[in-house]
């Protein structure tokens, strides 16, 4: 606090302190360090005191202080949004025809989240199609190989059992194995027809 500030009426000092605290809070939302934050708050405080000292009165009134504070940038101007938009956003010629609004609404691009959702969904759907494709081929190959094995083994087993007089349950298993070949082949053909 400056020397002059301590000489001000407590109610006036509170107004200034509140403004400086708000600026400090706004700066906290930015990535600037403690040293810089302190420098900025002190610089604003110095400016307020400078403007107070220019008032042609022994003791500044509350209205004087409010007028001075109103002439300064609001605390939000020191916040992260304002700082990240770049200083050039606030730099403009004094010619009012060329000057943009000091705190015009930002036109930040939107739809970033939806774009991420879109690309993620797209990639997952492509992977799913690929998985189904690969698994489908594996399934067809397995059906072909296993049903052929069932057929061959079933026929050979049935022949051996017939010549050697094997058990009835073994014969039944061989017949089921042989029968599975046309059934699985037919089901697979139906499935392929349905998919095509």
């Amino acid at each position: 606090m400056t020397e002059l500030l301590t000489e001000l009426a407590p109610s006036i000092q509170k107004l200034i302190d509140a403004r400086l605290d708000n600026i400090d809070r706004a700066l906290l939302s930015t990535d600037i360090g403690r040293y810089e934050r302190r420098q900025v708050v002190c610089a604003v405080e110095d400016q307020i005191m400078e403007l107070v000292s220019r008032i042609d009165r022994d003791e500044p009134s509350r209205d004087d202080i409010l007028r001075i504070l109103a002439s300064l940038d609001p605390p939000e101007a020191y916040g992260s949004g304002s700082m990240q938009q770049g200083n050039e956003h606030k730099l403009h010629r004094t010619d009012s025809r060329l000057a943009p609004s000091r705190f015009a609404n930002s036109t930040e691009p939107k739809g970033g989240v939806l774009a991420i959702v879109s690309v993620t969904s797209g990639v997952i759907s492509l992977l799913s199609v690929l998985t189904v494709f690969v698994l489908g081929f594996l399934a067809i190959a397995m059906v072909g190989v296993l049903s052929m094995a069932a057929l061959v083994c079933g026929i050979v087993a049935l022949c051996q059992l017939t010549y050697t007089g094997g058990k009835g349950s073994a014969k039944a298993m061989s017949i089921i194995g042989i029968a599975s070949f046309p059934v699985s082949t037919a089901v697979m053909c139906l499935l392929l027809l349905f998919l095509s």
Binding site: T2, E3, L4, L5, L27, I32, G33, Y35, E36, R37, Q39, V40, C42, A43, V44, D46, Q47, M49, E50, L51, V52, S53, R54, L72, D73, A77, Y78, S82, M83, N87, K90, L91, H92, R93, T94, D95, A99, R102
Partner: protein, 96 residues
């Protein structure tokens, strides 16, 4: 660059720098732009800060260029002149 240029020949305090930029360069820069910039420049060693009392009473934070700041300003001016020359050449060529 503008801030460094204002302090090239003489030191100045925050509010004075703002006023000089407004009156000499016709640039309406506000304190929320300049003070963080001054703080960063001083942190980076481009500016030195001297705190002194003003004749009116309140203290002032005077900023002046360091040797590093002078070097940086010279670099920035050179770069600016080069850009300015190129753009001017381009615009002149277009207007023909």
């Amino acid at each position: 660059m503008c801030v460094l240029a204002v302090l090239q020949d003489q030191e100045g305090y925050g509010y004075e720098i703002l006023e000089r930029l407004r009156s000499e360069a016709d640039l309406e820069l506000t304190e929320s732009t300049i003070y963080p910039l001054l703080a960063r420049l001083s942190k980076d060693g481009m500016l030195l800060i001297r705190i002194a009392k003003s004749p009116n009473g309140p203290q002032r934070r005077y900023y002046r260029l360091t040797a590093e700041g002078q070097r940086r300003l010279a670099q920035m001016v050179k770069h600016w002149e080069s850009i300015n020359e190129s753009v001017t050449k381009l615009l002149k060529g277009r207007s023909k």
